[in-house]
Protein backbone atom coordinates (compact mmCIF):
# COMPACT_ATOMS: atom_id res chain seq x y z
CA UNK A 1 0.00 0.00 0.00
CA UNK A 2 2.63 2.50 1.11
CA UNK A 3 4.76 1.62 -1.91
CA UNK A 4 1.87 2.23 -4.26
CA UNK A 5 1.36 5.68 -2.75
CA UNK A 6 5.05 6.47 -3.12
CA UNK A 7 5.08 5.32 -6.74
CA UNK A 8 1.98 7.35 -7.59
CA UNK A 9 3.42 10.40 -5.83
CA UNK A 10 6.67 10.03 -7.76
CA UNK A 11 4.83 9.69 -11.06
CA UNK A 12 2.75 12.78 -10.31
CA UNK A 13 5.83 14.71 -9.33
CA UNK A 14 7.52 13.63 -12.55
CA UNK A 15 4.52 14.70 -14.64
CA UNK A 16 4.42 18.01 -12.81
CA UNK A 17 8.04 18.82 -13.67
CA UNK A 18 7.61 17.56 -17.20
CA UNK A 19 4.58 19.75 -17.75
CA UNK A 20 6.31 22.83 -16.32
CA UNK A 21 9.31 22.19 -18.53
CA UNK A 22 7.15 22.03 -21.64
CA UNK A 23 5.20 25.14 -20.73
CA UNK A 24 8.38 27.07 -19.99
CA UNK A 25 9.79 26.12 -23.38
CA UNK A 26 6.57 27.16 -25.06
CA UNK A 27 6.48 30.51 -23.27
CA UNK A 28 10.08 31.14 -24.28
CA UNK A 29 9.11 30.64 -27.91
CA UNK A 30 6.28 33.15 -27.51
CA UNK A 31 8.58 35.64 -25.86
CA UNK A 32 11.12 35.26 -28.65
CA UNK A 33 8.35 35.74 -31.17
CA UNK A 34 7.25 38.99 -29.55
CA UNK A 35 10.86 40.20 -29.74
CA UNK A 36 10.86 39.65 -33.49
CA UNK A 37 7.56 41.52 -33.69
CA UNK A 38 9.06 44.47 -31.84
CA UNK A 39 11.85 44.70 -34.41
CA UNK A 40 9.51 44.20 -37.38
CA UNK A 41 7.28 46.96 -36.06
CA UNK A 42 10.27 49.24 -35.62
CA UNK A 43 11.20 48.57 -39.22
CA UNK A 44 7.68 49.24 -40.44
CA UNK A 45 7.64 52.51 -38.48
CA UNK A 46 10.81 53.73 -40.13
CA UNK A 47 9.58 53.18 -43.67
CA UNK A 48 7.08 56.08 -44.05
CA UNK A 49 9.89 58.38 -42.92
CA UNK A 50 12.20 56.90 -45.49
CA UNK A 51 9.66 57.31 -48.27
CA UNK A 52 9.09 60.96 -47.36
CA UNK A 53 12.81 61.66 -47.36
CA UNK A 54 13.48 59.90 -50.65
CA UNK A 55 10.44 61.54 -52.28
CA UNK A 56 11.94 64.95 -51.63
CA UNK A 57 14.87 64.15 -53.89
CA UNK A 58 13.68 61.47 -56.28
CA UNK A 59 10.07 62.19 -57.21
CA UNK A 60 9.78 59.97 -60.27
CA UNK A 61 10.62 56.66 -58.53
CA UNK A 62 6.88 56.27 -57.98
CA UNK A 63 6.70 52.53 -58.65
CA UNK A 64 9.25 51.90 -55.99
CA UNK A 65 7.36 53.95 -53.40
CA UNK A 66 4.17 52.12 -54.14
CA UNK A 67 5.88 48.78 -53.89
CA UNK A 68 7.44 49.62 -50.55
CA UNK A 69 4.17 50.97 -49.16
CA UNK A 70 2.35 47.84 -50.23
CA UNK A 71 4.94 45.54 -48.77
CA UNK A 72 5.02 47.50 -45.58
CA UNK A 73 1.29 47.06 -45.06
CA UNK A 74 1.68 43.39 -45.98
CA UNK A 75 4.26 43.09 -43.20
CA UNK A 76 2.09 44.93 -40.68
CA UNK A 77 -0.95 42.78 -41.40
CA UNK A 78 0.95 39.48 -41.73
CA UNK A 79 -0.25 36.66 -39.49
CA UNK A 80 1.77 33.60 -38.66
CA UNK A 81 5.44 32.93 -38.97
CA UNK A 82 5.65 31.92 -42.61
CA UNK A 83 3.71 34.95 -43.82
CA UNK A 84 5.74 37.30 -41.65
CA UNK A 85 9.10 36.03 -42.76
CA UNK A 86 7.96 36.10 -46.37
CA UNK A 87 6.74 39.72 -46.11
CA UNK A 88 9.89 40.72 -44.27
CA UNK A 89 12.15 39.18 -46.89
CA UNK A 90 10.33 40.92 -49.70
CA UNK A 91 10.63 44.22 -47.92
CA UNK A 92 14.36 43.64 -47.47
CA UNK A 93 14.77 43.20 -51.20
CA UNK A 94 12.83 46.36 -52.05
CA UNK A 95 14.72 48.38 -49.46
CA UNK A 96 17.93 47.22 -51.09
CA UNK A 97 16.73 48.58 -54.42
CA UNK A 98 15.77 51.89 -52.77
CA UNK A 99 19.26 52.26 -51.43
CA UNK A 100 20.63 51.32 -54.83
CA UNK A 101 18.45 53.99 -56.46
CA UNK A 102 19.69 56.53 -53.91
CA UNK A 103 23.18 56.12 -55.35
CA UNK A 104 21.99 58.04 -58.40
CA UNK A 105 20.95 61.07 -56.30
CA UNK A 106 23.99 62.64 -54.65
CA UNK A 107 21.90 65.22 -52.74
CA UNK A 108 19.75 62.51 -51.26
CA UNK A 109 22.76 60.41 -50.34
CA UNK A 110 24.37 63.36 -48.59
CA UNK A 111 21.25 64.39 -46.63
CA UNK A 112 21.56 63.99 -42.88
CA UNK A 113 18.06 62.60 -42.58
CA UNK A 114 18.65 59.90 -45.16
CA UNK A 115 21.94 58.83 -43.64
CA UNK A 116 20.36 58.51 -40.23
CA UNK A 117 17.48 56.47 -41.61
CA UNK A 118 19.94 54.24 -43.40
CA UNK A 119 21.86 53.49 -40.18
CA UNK A 120 18.62 52.96 -38.27
CA UNK A 121 17.28 50.57 -40.89
CA UNK A 122 20.47 48.59 -41.15
CA UNK A 123 20.61 48.37 -37.35
CA UNK A 124 17.01 47.15 -37.33
CA UNK A 125 17.89 44.59 -39.97
CA UNK A 126 20.72 43.34 -37.74
CA UNK A 127 18.36 43.17 -34.80
CA UNK A 128 15.83 41.20 -36.80
CA UNK A 129 18.59 38.75 -37.64
CA UNK A 130 19.62 38.44 -34.01
CA UNK A 131 16.07 38.05 -32.72
CA UNK A 132 15.50 35.46 -35.41
CA UNK A 133 18.49 33.55 -34.09
CA UNK A 134 17.04 33.61 -30.57
CA UNK A 135 13.60 32.66 -31.82
CA UNK A 136 14.86 29.76 -33.89
CA UNK A 137 16.99 28.35 -31.10
CA UNK A 138 14.00 28.57 -28.75
CA UNK A 139 11.87 26.80 -31.33
CA UNK A 140 14.48 24.09 -31.73
CA UNK A 141 14.58 23.63 -27.97
CA UNK A 142 10.79 23.46 -27.72
CA UNK A 143 10.29 21.18 -30.71
CA UNK A 144 12.92 18.81 -29.37
CA UNK A 145 11.32 18.81 -25.95
CA UNK A 146 7.89 17.81 -27.19
CA UNK A 147 9.29 15.01 -29.37
CA UNK A 148 11.72 13.15 -27.15
CA UNK A 149 10.77 10.17 -25.01
CA UNK A 150 8.91 10.23 -22.63
CA UNK A 151 7.78 13.86 -23.11
CA UNK A 152 6.14 12.95 -26.39
CA UNK A 153 3.22 11.16 -24.65
CA UNK A 154 2.32 14.10 -22.46
CA UNK A 155 2.85 16.55 -25.30
CA UNK A 156 0.50 14.64 -27.59
CA UNK A 157 -2.05 14.17 -24.86
CA UNK A 158 -2.14 17.91 -24.22
CA UNK A 159 -1.96 18.74 -27.90
CA UNK A 160 1.33 20.63 -27.98
CA UNK A 161 2.10 21.54 -31.58
CA UNK A 162 5.40 22.12 -33.34
CA UNK A 163 6.44 25.76 -33.48
CA UNK A 164 7.38 27.20 -36.86
CA UNK A 165 10.89 28.36 -37.65
CA UNK A 166 11.41 31.87 -38.90
CA UNK A 167 12.94 31.23 -42.31
CA UNK A 168 15.96 33.03 -43.66
CA UNK A 169 15.67 34.94 -46.92
CA UNK A 170 15.66 32.40 -49.74
CA UNK A 171 17.62 34.78 -51.94
CA UNK A 172 20.24 35.24 -49.22
CA UNK A 173 20.80 31.54 -49.17
CA UNK A 174 21.50 31.34 -52.89
CA UNK A 175 25.12 31.20 -53.89
CA UNK A 176 26.63 34.54 -54.73
CA UNK A 177 28.08 34.57 -58.19
CA UNK A 178 31.03 36.80 -58.81
CA UNK A 179 31.44 37.94 -62.38
CA UNK A 180 34.37 39.84 -63.79
Amino acid sequence: MIYAVIVIALVLLFLWFLYNGLITAKLRVNEALSQIDVQLKRRADLIPNLIETVKGYAKHEKDLFEKVTQERSALVSAKGMAEKSEANNQLSQTLKSIFAVAEAYPDLKASQNFMELQTELSDTENKIAYSRQFYNSSVLDYNTKIKVFPNVFLAQLLNFKDAEFFGADAKDKEKVEVKF
Binding site: R28, E31, A32, Q35, Q39, D123, N126, K127, Y130, S131, Q133, F134, S138
Partner: protein, 298 residues
Protein backbone atom coordinates in the same frame (compact mmCIF):
# COMPACT_ATOMS: atom_id res chain seq x y z
CA UNK B 1 19.51 22.17 -19.88
CA UNK B 2 23.16 22.56 -18.85
CA UNK B 3 22.85 26.28 -18.40
CA UNK B 4 19.74 26.07 -16.24
CA UNK B 5 21.34 23.63 -13.81
CA UNK B 6 24.36 25.95 -13.75
CA UNK B 7 22.03 28.78 -12.74
CA UNK B 8 20.56 26.97 -9.75
CA UNK B 9 23.95 25.76 -8.59
CA UNK B 10 25.24 29.33 -8.71
CA UNK B 11 22.28 30.61 -6.72
CA UNK B 12 22.84 27.93 -4.09
CA UNK B 13 26.56 28.64 -3.88
CA UNK B 14 25.87 32.34 -3.37
CA UNK B 15 23.68 31.57 -0.36
CA UNK B 16 26.31 29.21 1.01
CA UNK B 17 29.04 31.82 0.75
CA UNK B 18 26.83 34.43 2.43
CA UNK B 19 26.02 32.10 5.33
CA UNK B 20 29.63 30.91 5.62
CA UNK B 21 30.77 34.50 5.87
CA UNK B 22 28.47 35.20 8.81
CA UNK B 23 29.54 31.98 10.53
CA UNK B 24 33.22 32.76 9.96
CA UNK B 25 33.15 36.28 11.33
CA UNK B 26 30.97 35.37 14.30
CA UNK B 27 33.17 32.41 15.19
CA UNK B 28 36.33 34.50 15.09
CA UNK B 29 34.81 37.19 17.27
CA UNK B 30 33.60 34.48 19.65
CA UNK B 31 37.12 33.06 20.00
CA UNK B 32 38.46 36.57 20.43
CA UNK B 33 35.99 37.51 23.15
CA UNK B 34 36.51 34.20 24.98
CA UNK B 35 40.27 34.80 24.99
CA UNK B 36 39.77 38.31 26.33
CA UNK B 37 37.09 37.22 28.74
CA UNK B 38 34.59 39.57 27.15
CA UNK B 39 30.85 39.04 27.13
CA UNK B 40 28.57 37.64 24.48
CA UNK B 41 27.30 41.09 23.45
CA UNK B 42 30.34 41.44 21.21
CA UNK B 43 29.39 38.20 19.48
CA UNK B 44 25.86 39.48 18.97
CA UNK B 45 27.24 42.63 17.48
CA UNK B 46 29.46 40.60 15.14
CA UNK B 47 26.49 38.50 14.08
CA UNK B 48 24.45 41.57 13.17
CA UNK B 49 27.39 43.33 11.57
CA UNK B 50 28.41 40.39 9.38
CA UNK B 51 24.77 39.72 8.55
CA UNK B 52 24.39 43.26 7.26
CA UNK B 53 27.59 43.02 5.23
CA UNK B 54 26.47 39.70 3.84
CA UNK B 55 23.08 40.96 2.70
CA UNK B 56 24.60 44.24 1.60
CA UNK B 57 27.00 42.37 -0.62
CA UNK B 58 24.06 40.67 -2.30
CA UNK B 59 22.40 43.95 -3.20
CA UNK B 60 25.29 46.36 -3.59
CA UNK B 61 28.26 44.23 -4.60
CA UNK B 62 27.92 45.33 -8.20
CA UNK B 63 28.15 48.98 -7.22
CA UNK B 64 31.15 48.32 -4.99
CA UNK B 65 32.88 46.34 -7.71
CA UNK B 66 32.21 49.10 -10.21
CA UNK B 67 33.51 51.83 -7.94
CA UNK B 68 36.63 49.75 -7.23
CA UNK B 69 37.24 49.43 -10.95
CA UNK B 70 36.76 53.13 -11.70
CA UNK B 71 34.28 52.45 -14.50
CA UNK B 72 31.86 55.08 -15.86
CA UNK B 73 28.40 54.39 -17.28
CA UNK B 74 27.76 55.30 -20.91
CA UNK B 75 24.55 56.04 -22.80
CA UNK B 76 23.62 55.00 -26.31
CA UNK B 77 24.78 58.32 -27.77
CA UNK B 78 28.25 58.09 -26.20
CA UNK B 79 29.30 55.00 -28.09
CA UNK B 80 26.72 53.81 -30.55
CA UNK B 81 28.78 50.96 -31.93
CA UNK B 82 29.44 49.39 -28.54
CA UNK B 83 25.85 49.94 -27.45
CA UNK B 84 24.44 48.32 -30.59
CA UNK B 85 26.82 45.38 -30.30
CA UNK B 86 25.71 44.71 -26.74
CA UNK B 87 22.03 45.25 -27.55
CA UNK B 88 22.10 42.92 -30.56
CA UNK B 89 23.84 40.12 -28.71
CA UNK B 90 21.33 40.47 -25.88
CA UNK B 91 18.51 40.06 -28.36
CA UNK B 92 20.20 36.96 -29.74
CA UNK B 93 20.71 35.56 -26.24
CA UNK B 94 17.27 36.52 -24.96
CA UNK B 95 18.50 38.59 -22.00
CA UNK B 96 17.66 42.21 -21.15
CA UNK B 97 20.26 44.75 -22.26
CA UNK B 98 22.62 45.43 -19.33
CA UNK B 99 24.06 48.78 -18.35
CA UNK B 100 27.31 49.45 -20.12
CA UNK B 101 30.38 50.87 -18.39
CA UNK B 102 33.73 51.94 -19.76
CA UNK B 103 37.00 51.93 -17.79
CA UNK B 104 39.63 54.39 -18.89
CA UNK B 105 42.54 51.98 -19.16
CA UNK B 106 44.83 51.02 -22.04
CA UNK B 107 45.02 47.40 -20.97
CA UNK B 108 42.33 45.48 -22.90
CA UNK B 109 40.03 43.65 -20.50
CA UNK B 110 36.35 43.31 -19.58
CA UNK B 111 34.10 42.06 -16.80
CA UNK B 112 30.43 41.64 -15.99
CA UNK B 113 28.66 41.99 -12.66
CA UNK B 114 25.19 42.39 -11.14
CA UNK B 115 22.99 40.08 -9.11
CA UNK B 116 20.75 38.91 -11.98
CA UNK B 117 20.25 39.61 -15.70
CA UNK B 118 17.89 42.49 -14.87
CA UNK B 119 20.56 44.30 -12.84
CA UNK B 120 23.52 43.32 -14.98
CA UNK B 121 26.47 45.50 -15.90
CA UNK B 122 29.05 44.87 -18.59
CA UNK B 123 32.26 46.88 -18.31
CA UNK B 124 35.03 47.14 -20.88
CA UNK B 125 38.28 49.10 -20.95
CA UNK B 126 39.03 51.74 -23.57
CA UNK B 127 42.03 49.60 -24.51
CA UNK B 128 39.66 46.79 -25.45
CA UNK B 129 37.55 49.07 -27.64
CA UNK B 130 40.62 50.45 -29.39
CA UNK B 131 42.39 47.21 -30.12
CA UNK B 132 39.59 44.80 -31.08
CA UNK B 133 37.68 44.45 -34.34
CA UNK B 134 33.89 44.17 -34.35
CA UNK B 135 33.79 40.36 -34.44
CA UNK B 136 36.37 40.16 -31.66
CA UNK B 137 34.41 42.62 -29.53
CA UNK B 138 31.27 40.55 -30.14
CA UNK B 139 33.14 37.50 -28.87
CA UNK B 140 34.20 39.24 -25.66
CA UNK B 141 30.76 40.74 -25.02
CA UNK B 142 29.04 37.38 -25.53
CA UNK B 143 31.49 35.82 -23.09
CA UNK B 144 30.44 38.41 -20.50
CA UNK B 145 26.75 37.98 -21.32
CA UNK B 146 27.11 34.23 -20.75
CA UNK B 147 28.39 34.99 -17.25
CA UNK B 148 25.30 37.15 -16.73
CA UNK B 149 22.96 34.49 -18.07
CA UNK B 150 24.48 31.74 -15.92
CA UNK B 151 24.23 33.90 -12.77
CA UNK B 152 28.01 33.65 -12.49
CA UNK B 153 27.99 37.39 -11.93
CA UNK B 154 25.88 37.12 -8.77
CA UNK B 155 28.17 34.56 -7.19
CA UNK B 156 31.34 36.28 -8.31
CA UNK B 157 30.31 39.71 -7.06
CA UNK B 158 29.32 38.34 -3.64
CA UNK B 159 32.58 36.38 -3.52
CA UNK B 160 34.51 39.48 -4.48
CA UNK B 161 33.12 41.45 -1.54
CA UNK B 162 32.88 38.83 1.20
CA UNK B 163 35.93 36.70 0.56
CA UNK B 164 37.84 39.79 -0.49
CA UNK B 165 36.92 41.33 2.88
CA UNK B 166 38.38 38.36 4.76
CA UNK B 167 41.43 38.23 2.50
CA UNK B 168 42.23 41.91 3.02
CA UNK B 169 41.95 41.62 6.82
CA UNK B 170 44.08 38.47 6.76
CA UNK B 171 46.75 40.22 4.75
CA UNK B 172 46.73 43.08 7.26
CA UNK B 173 47.13 40.78 10.25
CA UNK B 174 49.77 38.72 8.52
CA UNK B 175 51.85 41.82 8.00
CA UNK B 176 51.61 42.98 11.61
CA UNK B 177 52.44 39.45 12.69
CA UNK B 178 55.62 39.18 10.61
CA UNK B 179 56.89 42.73 10.73
CA UNK B 180 55.38 44.33 13.81
CA UNK B 181 55.68 41.50 16.33
CA UNK B 182 59.36 41.68 17.18
CA UNK B 183 59.52 45.40 17.86
CA UNK B 184 57.53 45.73 21.04
CA UNK B 185 59.02 43.20 23.40
CA UNK B 186 57.92 45.21 26.42
CA UNK B 187 54.24 44.45 26.05
CA UNK B 188 52.77 42.03 28.52
CA UNK B 189 52.72 38.49 27.31
CA UNK B 190 48.98 37.82 27.45
CA UNK B 191 48.12 40.65 25.03
CA UNK B 192 50.83 39.46 22.70
CA UNK B 193 49.57 35.93 22.97
CA UNK B 194 46.11 37.05 21.92
CA UNK B 195 47.58 39.01 19.07
CA UNK B 196 49.50 35.94 17.96
CA UNK B 197 46.32 33.89 18.18
CA UNK B 198 44.40 36.25 15.93
CA UNK B 199 47.32 36.35 13.55
CA UNK B 200 47.41 32.59 13.34
CA UNK B 201 43.66 32.33 12.84
CA UNK B 202 43.80 34.73 9.95
CA UNK B 203 46.90 33.06 8.58
CA UNK B 204 44.85 29.90 8.37
CA UNK B 205 41.82 31.77 7.05
CA UNK B 206 43.51 33.46 4.15
CA UNK B 207 44.34 30.32 2.16
CA UNK B 208 40.88 28.99 2.99
CA UNK B 209 39.41 32.16 1.52
CA UNK B 210 41.56 31.70 -1.54
CA UNK B 211 40.43 28.11 -1.93
CA UNK B 212 36.82 29.28 -1.60
CA UNK B 213 37.31 31.71 -4.45
CA UNK B 214 38.82 28.96 -6.53
CA UNK B 215 35.93 26.66 -5.73
CA UNK B 216 33.48 29.32 -6.77
CA UNK B 217 35.38 30.39 -9.82
CA UNK B 218 36.42 27.05 -11.20
CA UNK B 219 38.09 26.88 -14.56
CA UNK B 220 35.01 25.15 -15.85
CA UNK B 221 33.14 28.43 -15.52
CA UNK B 222 35.43 30.30 -17.90
CA UNK B 223 35.40 27.45 -20.39
CA UNK B 224 31.62 27.26 -20.24
CA UNK B 225 31.32 31.00 -20.84
CA UNK B 226 33.72 30.71 -23.79
CA UNK B 227 31.63 27.90 -25.24
CA UNK B 228 28.32 29.74 -24.79
CA UNK B 229 29.87 32.82 -26.35
CA UNK B 230 30.84 30.78 -29.38
CA UNK B 231 27.31 29.41 -29.55
CA UNK B 232 25.83 32.91 -29.40
CA UNK B 233 28.00 34.49 -32.09
CA UNK B 234 28.39 31.29 -34.13
CA UNK B 235 31.97 32.40 -34.65
CA UNK B 236 34.49 31.05 -32.10
CA UNK B 237 37.43 32.56 -33.98
CA UNK B 238 36.27 36.07 -32.97
CA UNK B 239 36.68 35.36 -29.27
CA UNK B 240 39.84 33.32 -29.87
CA UNK B 241 41.67 36.14 -31.61
CA UNK B 242 40.33 38.64 -29.05
CA UNK B 243 41.80 36.51 -26.25
CA UNK B 244 45.06 36.37 -28.15
CA UNK B 245 45.20 40.15 -28.35
CA UNK B 246 44.27 40.54 -24.68
CA UNK B 247 46.90 38.01 -23.61
CA UNK B 248 49.65 39.60 -25.66
CA UNK B 249 49.17 43.05 -24.08
CA UNK B 250 51.98 43.44 -21.53
CA UNK B 251 50.63 45.88 -18.93
CA UNK B 252 48.17 45.06 -16.11
CA UNK B 253 44.82 46.74 -15.47
CA UNK B 254 45.34 49.67 -13.09
CA UNK B 255 42.33 49.28 -10.83
CA UNK B 256 42.26 45.51 -10.48
CA UNK B 257 42.62 44.13 -6.95
CA UNK B 258 42.88 40.66 -5.45
CA UNK B 259 39.20 40.79 -4.65
CA UNK B 260 38.06 41.65 -8.17
CA UNK B 261 40.65 39.84 -10.30
CA UNK B 262 38.46 36.80 -10.86
CA UNK B 263 35.74 38.92 -12.46
CA UNK B 264 37.80 39.85 -15.50
CA UNK B 265 37.78 37.91 -18.76
CA UNK B 266 41.54 37.41 -18.47
CA UNK B 267 43.88 37.72 -15.48
CA UNK B 268 44.25 41.51 -15.09
CA UNK B 269 47.63 41.21 -13.30
CA UNK B 270 49.25 39.71 -16.38
CA UNK B 271 51.14 37.18 -14.25
CA UNK B 272 53.43 39.81 -12.71
CA UNK B 273 52.97 42.72 -10.39
CA UNK B 274 51.15 40.64 -7.83
CA UNK B 275 50.14 42.58 -4.80
CA UNK B 276 51.11 40.07 -2.12
CA UNK B 277 52.43 36.59 -1.55
CA UNK B 278 48.87 35.33 -1.34
CA UNK B 279 47.98 36.63 -4.76
CA UNK B 280 49.48 33.46 -6.21
CA UNK B 281 46.68 31.54 -4.55
CA UNK B 282 44.12 33.69 -6.30
CA UNK B 283 45.15 32.58 -9.78
CA UNK B 284 41.67 31.81 -10.97
CA UNK B 285 41.98 31.94 -14.74
CA UNK B 286 42.75 28.91 -16.86
CA UNK B 287 45.76 29.36 -19.12
CA UNK B 288 44.93 31.53 -22.11
CA UNK B 289 46.62 29.17 -24.57
CA UNK B 290 44.30 26.37 -23.53
CA UNK B 291 41.19 28.53 -23.95
CA UNK B 292 42.30 29.68 -27.39
CA UNK B 293 43.11 26.13 -28.45
CA UNK B 294 39.67 24.89 -27.42
CA UNK B 295 37.91 27.75 -29.22
CA UNK B 296 39.92 27.11 -32.38
CA UNK B 297 38.97 23.43 -32.36
CA UNK B 298 35.22 24.12 -32.22
Amino acid sequence: MKVYSEVSSNKLKTWLIMILFVVFITTIVYVFSQALGGGLSLVGFALIFSGIISFGSYYWSDKMVLSMSGAKEIKKEDNRELYNTVENLCIAGGVPTPKIYIMNDDSPNAFATGRDPKHAVVAVTTGLLNSLSKTELEGVISHELSHVRNFDTRLMAVVAILVGFIAVISDMFMRTLWFGGSRDNNRNSSAQGIFMLIGIIFAILSPIAAVLIQLAVSRKREFLADASAALLTRYPEGLASALEKIASYPRPVKHATNATAHLYISNPFKGKDKKSFFAGLFDTHPPMQERIKILRSM
